[in-house]
Subunit: 184 residues, 2 copies
DNA sequence: GTCTATATACAGATAGAC
DNA sequence: GTCTATCTGTATATAGAC
């Protein structure tokens, strides 16, 4: 991948996390990376091509972060805290998860981007489910690993969404408390 | 409030829940209610005026639904199920909560709309917190009512968001299961 | 790979007639 | 209250020169 293409992806990612995909324009991206909009079209033929590429790169980075969490932590609680941290970092920048934002805008995405978005949520929830199932003995809940995975994933996406509205972090913190309650 | 103004609000509400506020245009709304776009501007001077009005009306309807839940149900579990149902209905229409959508788009809203949005989340979470606190004895959790309120509110917003991406209802259902686990 | 130039469409908003 | 007409800005996308 060319350096410029990567630069455009990065600029798009930052903009989407803050303002959403619909607010991103080829012209603005072009200015941010120092070219004209037609050059952005050279790297990404359509806006949906850009959407798909950005979602796939974000998912890859997210998967790499999950592997780091696996390597650096032993207990279930530490791993859940690591997962929570990924969303807390996004929230600290006054952003929301790129794929949470794209999920809100899914009706204006093309098929390729939609498929990539589904893959992000599948990967993330499966990591949670696998992690919860592997530490079943540390878990104080009668819910299944799959149910808890859905609860944490939905919850953290929603928490960043709502915390940003009032500029607090009460909801992200509530999910840290839930981790302690279930795996403490 | 004039009938036409109310018609426009309804059309806007429907469009926002599916495609987001940024996709709503005065022209499209005008066609849907059978007038020209300048007439829509007569009822709502700016797009932000429209946003604020729609959020306030949505919040009022939501509060009315919460009062119905209070009247129709006795147990904590039944009330939590009633709250869950509000989001399940939205999800069944392939929509997301209007205020969840607006939350994703908050960076492009004006001050009036932002304030109305904060009020929606405050009202909703306070109903949950009050309800949970009033039934503390039925509650099997070491978390506070405020923490659980944040978890349900964030969780259900996120659940509708993600369930729509893959067209399933696994996440909404997981929160029903959580209600049973905590208040069954 | 990047540029200029342009096609085409649509956005929010307003003036002024009726 | 609604209309026609218009201003101004912006969007995605492409053709063709360099």
């Amino acid at each position: 991948m060319s350096a410029k293409r990567s630069e455009i992806e990065q600029a798009a990612t930052r903009a989407i996390k803050g303002d959403g995909f619909k607010s991103v324009s080829f012209r603005t991206l072009a200015e941010q990376v120092g070219v004209k909009s037609s050059s952005v079209h050279y790297h990404f033929r359509t806006k949906d091509d850009l959407a798909e590429a950005v979602i796939r790169s974000y998912t890859e980075a997210f998967e790499a972060a999950l592997r780091s969490i696996d390597q650096d932590n032993e207990t279930l609680l530490a791993k859940l805290d690591g997962f929570n941290d990924l969303f807390a970092e996004v929230a600290a920048a006054d952003d929301i998860c790129l794929c949470g934002m794209m999920a809100a805008e899914v009706s204006s995405l093309g098929d390729g981007a939609k498929q990539a978005l589904r893959a992000y949520f599948r990967v993330s929830e499966q990591w949670l489910e696998k992690t919860l199932a592997a530490h079943a003995t540390e878990l104080k809940s009668d819910l299944s690993a799959a149910q808890l995975a859905a609860i944490f994933m939905s919850g953290l996406e929603g928490a960043t969404l709502i915390d940003r509205v009032d500029g607090k972090d009460a909801r992200i913190k509530a999910f840290r408390a839930l981790s302690r309650s279930l795996a403490g």
